[in-house]
């Protein structure tokens, strides 16, 4: 039986990596008394996958994980799913919060990770001058170049990230903070929102300090 579990990752848990998070969720499922199914083969691994890995340091209100269980949830209906969410939340540390547990729609045959097309982020940065104009100028460039490490060679090349930017704007100001909204491609071709932000800072002539920026993923888009 396949399930889709939606959860938030916030606070200190943003410092837990994708692989550690997978291991942690697997342990939590086992602690809750569920038996994740394992793949057959020489080196069996649990059938558990997170739709879109979240970079270390980002928080998220919209994470999604698929898991196959050997035995379906007791009750098998909405009530069983609700109590599963509650059970998992009692186990998981502060900063991981299960929002819902649902049976996976049988019509969706592919895994969610294969269906990801993009993701939306909210970026909070230190107080900045009025930026609306700079953002417009930045986006109106024919090409937006950003450094990218090429996996095969390890070399850093300038690539055009413009086709990967779906939205980028100043959303609001919070006293000392400026909040950006952005939506970028994810999945087969993807863009880290901080790569976009760094390119923007460089273009606008602003000093870029990643330690003063927080990023929250707010939505994942699927095919």
């Amino acid at each position: 039986m396949k399930y889709v579990i939606r959860f938030e990752k916030t606070d200190l848990m943003v410092f837990i990596s994708h692989l550690d998070l997978q291991r942690l969720l697997l342990r939590a499922l086992r602690m809750a008394g569920y038996r994740p199914a394992y793949s057959h083969g020489f080196n069996p691994h649990p059938k558990l996958s997170i739709a879109l890995p979240l970079p270390l340091g980002f928080s998220s209100s919209c994470e999604l994980m698929e898991v196959e269980l050997e035995v379906g949830l007791p009750g098998g209906d909405a009530k069983g799913a609700r109590s599963a969410a509650q059970k998992l939340n009692e186990i998981l540390p502060d900063g991981l919060n299960i929002l819902s547990v649902e049976e996976k729609d049988e019509r969706v045959s592919r895994s969610y990770s294969a269906l990801v097309t993009g993701a939306a982020y909210e970026i909070l940065a230190k107080e900045l001058p009025d930026l609306e104009d700079s953002v417009a100028v930045f986006l109106s460039q024919e090409q937006i170049l950003a450094p990218k490490k090429i996996k095969k060679t390890g070399k850093i090349e300038q690539v055009d990230i413009k086709p990967l930017i779906q939205e980028f704007r100043v959303e609001k100001k919070w006293g000392l903070m400026t909040q950006f909204a952005c939506r970028v491609a994810a999945g087969a071709k993807s863009l880290n929102p901080l790569t976009l932000l760094e390119a923007f800072y460089a273009h606008a002539g602003l000093p870029y300090n990643p330690a003063e920026i927080t990023v929250r993923r707010t939505q994942i888009f699927f095919d």
């Binding site: 837990i16 086992r30 602690m31 540390p93 919070w174 990643p210 330690a211």
Partner: protein
């Protein structure tokens, strides 16, 4: 201690913030201001002012609840004036309030404003730095800038009078020792090492406990969290309502660099509190190579290394009491000048007694007399060594005796012993690390102690007598741990797993239970000869990772010298058994440099390996041979409290020559992989293991020169250690105690074994020396003089 009303008030304020939809970063700010304001109010109340800390906290929690609105202070006032008029009134004026000049005139409202002006986002930064930062945001000379600078000046008097009134720095009081570690975490590798927050990590409100304890493991988080002893002690201490036990570990290099650059000290992973603020800081000493890290961590904690430099001052204890425990404490002398209290034996027995005495005495360490009285009281408890009460005397560079500071102190400190393992605490809900550690698995200790009595083995002597945990209790602990951790591996812990009475029965039953749960069983320290075919076959059925076997010596003579009670027949039979069932990988452990060793004993290692391989070749058909033998050789290090404590240690050159001799000989042996250990690190281990109080000078010099993480090959610096011993003049003798009649620096510790027994064992070993060594005689004891 918080009242129920206080707790409810705080909860209600947090609910209000949530219901109002206040954004997370503003809530973070409000929480930090509330904590800061509450700590200031509580400290001032303790010093005699009448202040309502709960009101301060509530108002601070809600002060920015509607920060998104135009005049947010007024707007919050309107929202709250009916529900909580006192808090509403404070919030209304929090932006504009001017503070009084004298501490005695401070009101709850002033404290909220002061706290707000000391917190940047969710970090405590202090009043001056915060206000300076605001001033800098305005044009120099502008009206706003001038106003803020004037305000900073006006507040100088208040801050000074607060510090005088409190008797300590305002920053320490206001931050509660909490450090803004979180802010730096995005800049380090594997930040999960520093966040605590694990499953089953206990969280307590520091306000609710009388004693704050921090357990320190002198290595990385990943190493420390795999150590069962730490889990036992953290669990045991946190079961007490009056103690909050947190943890700290040695930071990795990148975090250390940040700490130095940003000027923040060593912190607990649980609450990111400055470890200086703890009542106790307890180190576990598992291996001598961690001594440099102990000193290194104290340096990072900004705590003076010597206990004599940590006296109470101004009616306060500026530093925690330093405690050490663990097997290295059986020779406590190298670090004796560092620790206030050293626990000898099973700490499950002694730590609670120390906590009880400390709680009874009520902040005993705030004055020099109180501290002395407290230490004197506990010095009479079994298993507690107070090193500053014992003064070693040296004559002609040799240790001659230990003088007591008080006549009523025990001459020797007896080790503490857990008598009944079934009744002893063992964690059923261990902390489950969030990041991958060395061992992520359920662990249960089968028994403590070892009945074998190998003469080189410190653990074999100091952990006596053998105390066994019942099968029922073992199964119960495993069930509990698996249900509470979700681990998929169980490991059975002991010095020699195969010696557990009924080990076959236990492992069979465990495998029956674990296999259906997709859980595997690991049996470290398993002696091949002590386990039946059936068990071997069952373990092998799902895991053929390899079997280990420790003959220790290459000849029967030397095996008799070290009292390793196995024969060549045992070895051959066991390997035959294992291979017949289908095992293909076997590892043999040997030691070189042991007393009475000759070239014949080295040749014996090679010979034994060759014959084992030949036997297996005979068992397997040509073309289907897949047997791999690994021979691992380690260097003998004489350890205190063993019969071999009087042994002369090999020089580094001798050990190296022997290793290369073996390596050369093994080159010609087919199917055997030969491994050997770093001889240089063994040299340093020898010096530290049998050191005395003068050894600390060398440890300090080594750390000063940059030594740390000595158990990590890539960090160990032999050159610096050699130089440290030479420069400091600390004893560096390979044969420091040739005479069994002479007193030993660690005689002050009574580990339960009669010294006469150790001497007789030593003499028995020497009597078995080869009367006519074939080649060299330098390791034989007769040549010593």
């Amino acid at each position: 201690m918080r009242t129920e009303e206080s707790r409810a008030g705080r909860e209600q304020a947090l609910t209000r913030l949530a219901e109002n939809g206040t954004p997370a970063h503003i809530v973070g700010h409000c929480k930090q201001v509330a904590g800061t304001a509450r700590r200031i109010a509580l400290a001032l109340s303790r010093s005699g002012l009448t202040l309502d800390a709960d009101l301060v906290e509530r108002a601070a929690l809600l002060h920015d609840m509607v920060r998104t609105e135009e005049d947010h202070a007024e707007a919050a006032y309107e929202l709250l004036k009916d529900a909580d008029p006192a808090a509403a009134e404070i919030i209304r004026g929090h932006m504009t309030r001017s503070l009084p000049a004298d501490v005695r005139a401070l009101t709850e409202a002033d404290i909220v404003s002061l706290a707000d002006r000391s917190v940047l986002e969710d970090r405590y930064v202090g009043y001056r730095p915060r206000m300076e930062a605001i001033a800098r945001r305005h044009a120099p000379g502008s009206e706003a800038e001038t106003f803020i600078r004037a305000r900073i000046r006006d507040t100088e008097g208040l801050l000074a009078s607060m510090e005088e009134f409190l008797g300590e720095g305002l920053d320490a009081v206001a931050s509660g020792g909490q450090l803004p570690v979180r802010y730096y975490l995005s800049r380090v590798e594997r930040p999960g090492r520093y966040i605590g927050n694990e499953i089953h990590a206990v969280k307590k409100d520091p306000e609710d406990v009388a004693i704050r304890f921090c357990l320190a493991f002198p290595d990385l988080y990943e190493i420390g969290m795999s150590y069962t002893g730490l889990q036992i002690l953290v669990g045991l201490l946190n079961e007490r309502a009056d103690v909050y036990c947190e943890r700290t570990f040695a930071p990795a290099q990148d975090m250390e660099d940040l700490m130095r650059a940003e000027g923040f000290p060593l912190f607990t992973v649980d609450t990111h509190t400055d470890v200086k603020r703890m009542d106790f800081l307890g180190f576990t000493l598992q291996y001598e190579h961690s001594y440099s890290n102990v000193i290194h961590m104290l340096n990072l904690a900004q705590i003076p290394v010597r206990s004599s430099a940590r006296a109470p001052a101004g009616g306060r204890a500026p530093y925690p009491l330093l405690i050490a425990g663990g097997p290295c404490c059986y020779n406590p002398e190298p670090l004796a000048d560092v620790f206030d209290i050293i626990l000898i034996g099973d700490a499950e027995e002694t730590l609670p007694l120390v906590m009880d005495a400390y709680a009874r005495a009520d902040a005993p360490c705030d004055t020099a007399e109180g501290k002395e009285k407290f230490l004197r009281e506990i010095a009479h408890l079994p298993g507690i060594y107070i090193p500053k009460f014992y003064t070693p005397v040296y004559e002609d560079g040799r240790f001659v005796r230990m003088d007591k500071v008080y006549a009523d102190l025990p001459d020797r400190v007896q080790k503490a012993v857990v008598v009944d393992l079934d009744a002893a605490y063992f964690p059923g809900r261990p902390i489950v690390p969030l990041i991958e550690t060395v061992h992520g698995r359920a662990v249960v200790e089968l028994f403590r102690g070892c009945g074998r009595g190998c003469r080189f083995c410190q653990a074999g002597f100091v952990y006596r007598p053998v105390r066994r945990r019942s099968k029922e209790r073992i199964l119960q602990i495993i069930d509990e741990q698996l249900a509470n951790t979700g681990y998929d591996e169980v490991s059975l812990l002991s010095l020699s797993t195969g010696d557990y009475p009924g080990i076959e029965d236990l492992t069979c039953e465990l495998m029956d239970r674990l296999t259906p749960q997709d859980v595997s069983l690991s049996l470290p320290s398993l002696r091949l000869d002590s386990i039946s075919e059936e068990v071997l076959a069952r373990i092998g059925a799902y895991k053929k990772s390899g079997l280990t076997f420790a003959p220790e010596a290459g000849t029967q003579r030397l095996r008799d010298v070290v009292h390793k009670n196995i024969t060549e027949d045992d070895i051959f039979r066991s390997v035959q058994k294992a291979v017949a069932i289908g095992w293909t990988r076997v590892k043999f452990y040997f030691m070189i440099g042991m007393p009475t060793e000759t070239r014949a004993d080295l040749d014996g290692i090679v010979d034994l390996a060759e014959r084992v391989c030949a036997m297996v070749r005979g068992m397997q058909e040509p073309g289907k041979r897949n047997f791999h033998l690994t021979v691992s050789v380690s260097n003998f290090v004489p350890k205190p409290n063993t019969p071999f404590q009087w042994a002369r240690a090999n020089t580094e050159e001798e050990l190296k020559e022997k290793n290369f001799y073996l390596k050369d000989r093994f080159k010609k042996v087919r199917g055997v992989q030969f491994q050997f250990h770093d001889t240089r690190s063994s040299y340093v281990e020898t010096m530290l293991a049998r050191g005395d109080r003068r050894t600390l000078a060398a440890i300090l010099a080594a750390v000063e020169a940059g030594c740390k993480f000595d158990s990590w090959r890539e960090h160990f610096r032999y050159d610096l250690w050699r130089e440290a011993f030479e420069k400091s003049g600390a004893p560096a003798n390979l044969d420091p105690y040739p005479d069994t009649d002479a007193p030993l620096p660690w005689d002050v510790i009574d580990d339960g074994t009669d010294k006469a027994l150790l001497i007789s064992q030593w003499n028995k070993a020497l009597a078995l020396a080869d009367p006519a060594p074939q080649t060299e005689a330098e390791t034989a004891p007769e040549t010593r003089a």
